[in-house]
């Protein structure tokens, strides 16, 4: 009975015990990890052995079958298929070195995995290597690809000449040029290239049951993938023949000799995604999270942040209890101060942005003077989801780009469950520089994840993102190259200006156009001029691929990955520039849809702010005071102002409508003047800058002879305050979602406009 109430005040210390327990647990986890590793390793080993056993058994069986047939003197009457690859085999059969049955098995194997007939014959033990060398001695010397293609009648001499003249103008590989001109199919070209290099081609019915995988990074870097294991060597598929100096390295990795077979880009793409799909997926979803958890939005609120919010709210509550009006006054003072600083700052930025040198500008002559030969390969990433309808327009818009097609690497990123788009794309027979990538299904299902996935195997030195419905100006890629060439090394990102082609569809799209004009024509150039972090816009941001990969590309957990990336680039000491080239997008034309899209953006800005403000002091150290201020203006004010606005709208209504008595208490003395100046002057200036922004761009285009917009758009700027109301609604929704489902991607439905509307507009003008 005594033991029931023996109070013990001091037990074992929480901290020490927890630490101790944690250590123990970590050890346990490490052990479990080791167990997993061992299992994996052993399974792979066993699999490899099983594979070899199965292969051996099959061959023994085949051989005994053949022996039986010979013994029964059952002669095979079927003729061996004729054609290039059959020739040497037939010769061997006719000379009695091998039997027709042996040849059949060899050809079967070749068809399945690829490789050269001779090598397979040797591997299967039908002929000795010495015999082979003897038989091959009459092989032709290496000739030029073009000549060979003409000789083999893949292309005509005229076609070759045309391709060569392209090459003289734009540089690049002849093969790519031939493909971009669609003069022959990739399979034919690679067949020829393989013959030229005296290596084999990838088989047609490849069955990727390979017991050995190269380490992913090495495979990606070198474009090599194991496709089959023979008894004494591996068959590896390559996009380009492996340079000799890499032979030793590869053999060491494989632990056996190898034979290379050539695969087209599409085949290689397919091999990689089926072989390394999981690794690539993991890389695109969690690389940033693992390598720089401090920059990943996978955690929305950190514990510290929750504590700070709790402390702030608690002190406000305590303050309210202690002194209601005093507390409200202080809070109001802080908010007004915030408004005031943000307003002043925003206008300073806009003023700077209105200078002509705030954007990089190039004349058509300067662009025409670019040497195409110096242009690098350019990757275009087009993430899309259930947008099959806009694909024809997409292709048309991409084809309009003025850039050597042989140097393009267009990667269409579609989701696994988007069957309609998948089917449409596979039926389309796109030119060879298009690659369709199916992003495996996994969470988070976001655009940045798809982009990361597409970037892994991007061939370009530079990359850009376009949405499916985008219409980039034809000279955009060249302008960007001109810009990169003229800018210092630290500029790794160039943002083109976004605007809308369906601006005149309805009032909402008109407002949206005004907002975008303002944002991209004035605000972002001002930010760039001030050398502050630029929150990138969703599309048409051009990157140096190496840097982009280095900083782990996009954050798949952030729903405005673009804005976040802008900040992270700045953090890493890189810079972003705005270029005077536009991409035309489709503005959201339905209010509900618009609110969804906007709430996603606002949520993303909140996410971004929370991520980088986990440690404000560190942020200041990383991006300096100027960058910090710019960060607050762009990333904090953008979502916060629409959240605060409704409160003050209500106050104004109460004051002018009912002269509510509590309001003067909130705005004593100078605060009244500050708030008044903001209300009258700042609101006016915001409206005016909208009007000015849109006038600016229309005027600018008219001077250049382009007629995208009508001046009739300008007057709608005066009604923009109604748009602010919508913005506040979206902001409230966003704040709610940030807490309830932070990674949910509010999908925007595109294709709500008639795509040929811009043509109609042009006719009208």
């Amino acid at each position: 009975m005594k033991k029931r109430l023996r109070w013990q005040v001091r037990g074992l210390s929480f901290g020490q015990t927890n630490r101790h327990l944690l250590e123990e647990r970590i050890e346990l986890e490490q052990l479990q990890q080791r167990l997993d590793d061992q299992r994996q390793e052993q399974a792979a080993d066993i699999h490899k052995l099983d594979f070899e056993i199965a292969g051996l058994n099959r061959r023994i069986e085949e051989t005994t079958n053949r022996i039986h047939q010979i013994q029964k003197e059952v002669k095979l009457q079927e003729t061996v298929p004729t054609g290039g690859k059959g020739r040497m085999g037939e010769m061997l059969v006719s000379r009695g070195i091998i039997t027709a049955a042996q040849l059949e098995h060899v050809i079967l194997s070749q068809k399945q995995y690829g490789g050269r007939l001779g090598d397979i014959l040797v591997d299967m033990g039908f002929v000795t290597p010495e015999q082979m060398i003897q038989e091959m001695s009459d092989a032709r010397p290496k000739e030029r690809l073009g000549e060979m293609l003409v000789r083999s009648e893949y292309i005509t001499q005229e076609q070759l000449e045309r391709a060569l003249s392209f090459q003289a103008k734009s540089g690049g590989m002849l093969g790519d040029i031939l493909l971009s001109l669609q003069m022959l199919e990739p399979e034919e070209l690679y067949r020829a290239v393989a013959t030229q290099n005296q290596i084999g081609r990838l088989g047609e019915e490849i069955d990727l049951n390979v017991p050995f995988k190269l380490p992913e990074q090495w495979a990606q870097d070198n474009g090599v993938i194991v496709v089959h294991q023979y008894l004494n060597r591996y068959l590896v598929a390559v996009g380009d023949p492996i340079p000799v100096e890499r032979y030793a390295e590869l053999e060491e990795l494989l632990g056996m000799p190898f034979e290379q077979v050539l695969a087209t880009k599409e085949e290689l793409e397919h091999l990689f995604s089926s072989n390394y799909g999981n690794e690539m997926l993991k890389q695109s979803t969690s690389k940033l999270k693992e390598q720089q958890p401090e920059n990943s939005a996978s955690t929305t609120f950190t514990f510290g942040q929750i504590m700070i919010f709790a402390i702030v709210s608690l002190s406000i509550i305590v303050g309210l209890i202690w002194n209601v009006w005093g507390t409200i006054l202080v809070v109001n003072l802080l908010i007004q101060l915030f408004y005031f600083i943000m307003t002043i700052f925003k206008f300073a930025i806009i003023y700077l942005g209105s200078r002509t040198n705030s954007q990089l500008r190039f004349t058509p002559e300067e662009i025409a003077a670019l040497d195409e030969k110096s242009l690098p390969i350019y990757t275009i990433l087009v993430p899309m989801y259930k947008e099959a309808g806009v694909i024809p327009h997409l292709i048309r818009n991409l084809e309009r780009l003025d850039y050597p097609k042989s140097k393009l690497d267009v990667r269409l990123l579609i989701e696994d469950d988007d069957i309609e788009t998948k089917e449409l794309l596979s039926s389309m027979n796109l030119p060879a520089y298009y690659t369709t990538l199916v992003v495996p299904d996994s969470l988070p299902k976001t655009k940045p994840k798809a982009c990361n996935y597409g970037l892994i195997r991007a061939r370009g030195e530079y990359a850009v993102i376009y949405d499916a419905e985008d219409q980039p100006d034809a000279d955009q890629l060249k302008k960007v190259m001109a810009a990169f060439n003229s800018l210092p090394e630290e500029y790794v990102c160039i943002q083109a200006k976004l605007n809308y082609f369906n601006s005149s569809q309805n009032l909402l799209t008109r407002w949206f156009t005004q907002e975008y004009s303002m944002w991209f024509e004035l605000l972002l150039p001002g930010i760039m001029k001030l050398d502050m972090p630029v929150p990138l816009g969703g599309t048409s941001n051009h990157f140096k691929v190496s840097v982009l990969k280095n900083i782990n590309a996009w954050d798949p957990y952030n729903v405005t990955e673009d804005a976040d990336l802008g900040i992270r680039l700045y953090k890493s000491g890189y810079k972003t520039a705005i270029i005077d080239s536009r991409t035309w997008e489709e503005a959201n034309s339905q209010v509900g849809n618009w609110i969804r899209q906007r709430s996603r953006w606002i949520k993303g800005y909140m996410q971004t702010w929370l991520v980088h403000m986990r440690n404000p002091f560190k942020l200041i150290k990383e991006i300096g005071w100027k960058g910090f201020l710019g960060f607050q203006v762009m990333i904090l004010a953008t979502p916060l102002l629409p959240l605060l606005n409704p409160i003050f709208w209500v106050l104004i209504l109460l004051w002018f409508g009912w002269e509510a008595e509590f309001i003067p208490k909130l705005f004593p003395g100078y605060l009244y003047y500050i708030a008044g100046a903001e209300f009258y002057v700042a609101n006016f200036l915001f409206i005016f800058s909208n009007v000015a922004g849109v006038y600016w761009i229309i005027n600018d285009m008219e001077e250049k002879g382009e007629k995208r917009f009508s001046f009739s758009l300008v007057k709608y700027g005066l009604s923009i305050p109604l748009y602010w109301v919508l913005m506040s609604i979206a902001a409230i929704k966003a704040a709610w979602q940030l807490i309830t489902k932070p990674f949910y991607w509010e999908k925007t439905v595109h294709g709500l406009t008639e795509m040929n509307e811009e043509n109609l507009l042009q006719e009208k003008l």
């Binding site: 209105s354 002018f656 003047y673 009258y680 006016f684 005016f688 009007v691 000015a692 006038y695 600016w696 229309i698 005027n699 600018d700 008219e702 001077e703 250049k704 002879g705 007629k707 009508s710 001046f711 009739s712 758009l713 300008v714 007057k715 700027g717 005066l718 003008l765």
Partner: protein
Amino acid sequence: MMNRKGKLLLFILMFGMEFALGFYISYVLGYMHSDAISRVANAFYVLYSRDPHLGAIGFVWNPLPSLMELGLLVFYPLVPALATYGLAAVLMSSIFAALTSVLLYSSGRKMGIGAGISLTIALLYSLNPFVFLFGANGLSDAPYIYFIMYTVIEFCFWLKSRSASSLILSAFALAMAFWTRYEAVPLGVALAVGVVIAVFWMHRNYYSTGPTLREKAYKVEATWILLLIPAVFSGLLWIFFNYIIMDNPFYFLNSEYSNVAQSGQLQSDQSFVELFNSPWLALKFIAGKTLWYSAPLFAVLLIRLFTKRLFQGGTLIILLMFVSVPALQFVLLMRESSFGWFRYFMYVFPITVAWLPYELSLVRDRGRKLAFAVVVLSMLVTAGLLSYAMTDPSIAPDENNFINMADNEHLKEQELDRSVGAWIDSNMNDGTNIMTDSYSAYNLLVSSDNLKRYLITSDYKFETALNDPPGNDIDYILIPKPLPGIPKSAINKLYPNMFEHGNEWATLYHDFDGKWRLYKIKKWVAPQG
């Protein structure tokens, strides 16, 4: 860099000369135009009255000049003469006069005209004796002229380059002009018509075929919005402020202190009554006054005639802007509410001069030298004409006052007002409550060394105290002699006989030359009625 230094030098030089003259007139001679000193007074009340608040700036005159003086008056405790002698106004006007010189010079340079020509035009304008006087006298004309010249110059840039930024700058300058003087309204109308002309008839070479008529109309609409919205918004805001603070949206137009009310006295002037009743006479009257300033316009027309551009859109635009100034006076005369002062017509001169750099930039090579010669001649003629006008009180009475102090009635009034202030300063305790109407007492209020002693019109308690002075702890009431034709102050209006006969609760305490009277208020007596 040299250019920048040059501009700074020009500014300092002009400012120095203007301020020196202004200082001499207002501080040494002690004269300041009543419009100028009352604007200083308005700013002064905002900062140093019993209830410092922005509303005290008053709602009759456009508030920008007072607002700017307000900034200067922050230093009143250190330099009392800023208010007492109205030096804040002199500073303001001489700063703007100097800025105007620099503006003219640099707009010439930006238009691609040589430094020599640009500087000559700037100096010929700024050193014109008439213009020079307005840089020194502290009136709101100096900032107003600066703003309208800015407006016109940026508008010209727009005509030349069609860049949106010029339009924006022009728009804000026009809004600033409105916050300075109401005369900006007709100029805005003229610019609006100018936009139509420019868009429809001053067609520029486009890469492709020009826009359709419909699109041109949209462009006019858009350009109007951009160019006029700041000014229109300013106007609406001003009406709104009048409404919420004075409970009368058109207080600035029709209150007892407004121009309309003040010009009531004109009804007793026979020559004005004739003008009011005959549009033809009014036109002749206006044309006569305008002609004094018109030489540069004739120069422009002459240049256009000889370069075969007389019938181009530009001619119409400059004519419109020019005519907008006398047109307002015509309208006001027809509505019987303008004094038609000589200086009201002067704005045609800066408008034309602001156009000159653009005009010269359109003429090439040898033609430019000739055109420049014509311009110089016209400017010299104007200088001569205006100098003569100033010496003749029948042409320019206001301006004549500045150079003829001996006959200056206003100077005498001001001296008296100051002496009243000084008497009160030396004979009254700091704690006494003196009620007075600031609309008539501004001169003595700014010269007082303790403004808080006075209960003035803009103070919160004034309305209540006016209806019951004894019940509101008022010790004295100071009132001016009511004069026919001049608007009555609030006190004289409510107690019309008080100045002559006093009141049952007020006994005469002191009389100042029969112009001002100080009444002592009895305490604790219930007011009549």
